[in-house]
């Protein structure tokens, strides 16, 4: 398996008036060519900031505080964090080789331009086609993502399309330059289940067809189970468990992952009382000194209050950050 992207010890901090928010605090993972990675966690755990950091889209007061994002490109290895976010090289990678789908299709499209214009923009910029060719290409992409009457839709404005169709157009835009990596940040959260099923099906088909690597960010464990090869569970800016999808779902090790799995109501059985995780996610300005999950953890020990466990390989390819499985 050839590696496409390596994230090593990435740290993204936000320097606010009230203190430093460690949104992403040392996360590492590898994306293989043609592989799909899922990043799971609750709101505020740093999953979206991870994606934006890779894309070089962090704005002040946010700052990349450390780490490397190594992008393997034609035998060369480029550290994306070393590039000027507004510079020529980063701009030729962003949107062209690494593309992103955002959560809310309604707000991430520009309402005053037609769908076609917005898709053509990246095609003209990256593929150096003229306007006429770019328009043809845009229609072709809209057709590919299953939008009926693409010749007509290409000239319509975002408000004329439904949520599902807009998300399809976003996917068309993201894939129009055949990126090698697609980052999908909660791509179906704003959509209905039946439309969600359509969009997930579309992403899967396009992945098989174009062999694109995908990082999918979501809080919905159901989406992850059916779609990805590897799962990273995040809590308070750190990866707390990382393994292939079967291990994480059938043999979760970290108490947080176990709690998360238990608190999902199942469609296949009508349960009585749901088990749940006590308490709430701590505020990022007020992170516990030891393990971030310690105040909510039912298995917490003395050591958990003092120092944070590192992500270690417990069994082959199953990484867990928990003192239950480590020596102090």
């Amino acid at each position: 398996m050839s590696t496409l992207l390596e994230v090593r010890d990435l740290k993204t901090y936000f320097y606010t008036k009230l203190g430093v928010v460690r949104a992403v605090d040392g996360i590492s993972f590898t994306v293989g060519a043609g592989k799909t990675i899922g990043i799971v966690g609750e709101s505020g755990c740093g999953k979206s900031v991870t994606a934006l950091s890779i894309m070089g889209l962090i704005r002040p007061p946010g700052k990349i505080a450390g780490g490397e994002v190594l992008y393997h490109h034609n035998g060369k290895i480029i550290d994306l964090l070393k590039l000027d976010p507004q510079g020529k090289q980063m701009r030729s990678i962003r949107g062209n080789e690494i593309a992103m789908i955002f959560q809310e299709p309604m707000t991430s499209m520009n309402p005053v331009f037609t769908i076609g214009t917005q898709i053509m923009e990246s095609i003209i910029l990256h593929q150096h086609l003229n306007k006429h060719e770019a328009r043809e290409k845009a229609i072709e992409m809209l057709h590919k993502v299953g939008i009926p009457l693409p010749e007509q839709r290409v000239d319509e404005y975002p408000h004329q399309l439904s949520g599902g169709m807009l998300q399809r157009s976003m996917i068309a835009m993201a894939l129009s330059c055949h990126p090698s990596l697609l980052i999908a940040d909660e791509p179906t959260t704003a959509l209905d289940v039946t439309i969600q099923a359509q969009v997930l099906d579309l992403i899967m088909n396009l992945r098989n067809e174009l062999n694109t690597s995908i990082i999918i960010i979501t809080h919905d464990l159901g989406i992850v189970a059916g779609l990805v090869d590897e799962v990273i569970v995040m809590y308070l800016g750190r990866a707390i468990e990382k393994s292939n999808v079967r291990n994480v779902f059938h043999d979760p090790k970290h108490p947080y992952t176990q709690g998360l799995m238990d608190s999902v109501p199942s469609i296949t059985e009508s349960g009585q009382k749901l088990r749940f995780i006590d308490g709430v996610v701590p505020h990022l300005l007020d992170v516990p000194p030891g393990c971030g999950f310690e105040p909510r953890c039912s298995k917490a020990m003395e050591i958990c209050k003092k120092s944070a466990p590192l992500l270690k390989e417990m069994t082959p390819d199953h990484w867990v950050a928990c003192w239950l499985y480590q020596e102090g």
Partner: protein, 346 residues
């Protein structure tokens, strides 16, 4: 009374919104948000109302409370009242009740909204938010009220010392608890919960669902639980109604609906749900396209353009809402004859 344990009965409820056109603002067409809606809820029961966005579930819920004026239909509400130690039951048609009657009724029917970030007034303290219904209905004096708010906060699992704080100091789950405390303040019998957990994180969602369940058994509450999440509905509801384009297409007890579903739309909806298990592979039934516009719904059966079993009759004739057997209601021409796939058990 023959059916004295039925708390709410809705018959042929309709809500049409006119669309005006031209300089004379002539009525051009109607958005049929709720179009002939029948159901009943027994006392102490949870009825789920599911469907995709735009199918009219929220409109239906609000019309039942008469937060929106119904265009047509009967909403019979039978609250129980204690007079001199005797339980008295009265029957009122909410659709035609006078303003004064409505004010009394509202003590017995309340609503929990979806988004706790916008449903709580950010300028009011928790005490005044929860105490407001008590004040409006003249239930208690200021001193007493403080004590009641304290008790309500304990009931929903929060620290009563938070009374003087403001909503922005709380997380989504805590805000939803505050909203629930406000709803409980008047001890209502019917609570319409409009997507109460959709805006919450997974681990918090489970906390709130458990809270709703335990409050129900404690205070004998009746819920109309509006949701788009079928897994949540399966967990919390006794019976479930599935809505499509302003109409109920299927209504049955929860187990019956999940094990023995009869409507093609329900089948597609069920198969679309992602299951959190990597070994679980079902062939999803993908519905083509979007929900049609309620301004111009398709003729015949509303669902026929997206239905894989549609035949000629579906394009022309509107199917009736019929009881198959043991209170399993379906709106489909081929309700008894199709063999549909239920949700598979692991």
């Amino acid at each position: 009374m023959p059916n004295d344990n039925i708390l709410l009965e809705v018959n042929n409820l309709k809500k049409y919104y006119p669309i005006y056109k031209g300089i004379f603002r002539r009525i051009n067409a109607y958005v049929k948000a709720v179009d002939g809606f029948n159901l009943f809820i027994k006392e102490g029961e949870t009825l789920g109302l599911v469907g995709e966005s735009g199918c009219g579930k929220t409109t239906a819920g609000r019309t039942i409370l008469r937060l929106i004026e119904p265009t047509e239909g009967v909403i019979l509400f039978r609250p129980k009242e204690r007079v001199d130690g005797m339980e008295k039951c009265q029957e009122i048609n909410v659709a035609t009740a006078s303003n004064k009657q409505m004010k009394d009724l509202r003590r017995n029917m309340q609503i929990i909204y979806q988004d706790p970030y916008s449903s709580l007034d950010s300028r009011m303290t928790i005490e005044s938010i929860i105490g407001e219904p008590l004040l409006v209905h003249g239930v208690s004096k200021a001193k007493e009220r403080e004590e009641q708010v304290r008790d309500l906060l304990i009931e929903v699992g929060m620290d009563p010392d938070y009374m003087n704080r403001y909503p922005h100091e709380f997380s989504g789950g805590q805000r939803q608890r505050i909203a629930i405390a406000r709803v409980l303040a008047l001890r209502p019998q019917l609570i319409i919960a409009d997507e109460p957990v959709s805006a919450l994180d997974v681990s918090i969602k489970a906390q709130i669902l458990n809270l709703l369940k335990s409050l129900q058994s404690e205070f004998n509450l009746t819920y109309l639980f509006i949701s788009h999440d079928l897994a949540v509905v399966r967990h919390i509801c006794d019976r479930v109604a599935v809505m499509y384009l302003g109409k109920i297409v299927e209504l049955a007890s929860t187990n019956e609906l999940f094990d023995n579903l009869k409507h093609p739309y329900t089948e597609a909806l069920m198969s679309a749900i992602p299951v959190p298990d990597p070994n679980y592979r079902v062939k999803r039934i993908l519905l083509e396209g979007d929900v049609p516009s309620p301004v111009n719904p398709p003729p015949g059966c509303n669902f026929h353009p997206r239905c894989r079993y549609a035949k000629e009759i579906c394009k022309t004739e509107v199917p009736i809402y019929q009881d198959l057997n043991n209170k399993h209601f379906v709106t489909c021409h081929f309700a008894g004859t199709l063999s549909l796939k239920p949700v598979q058990r692991r």
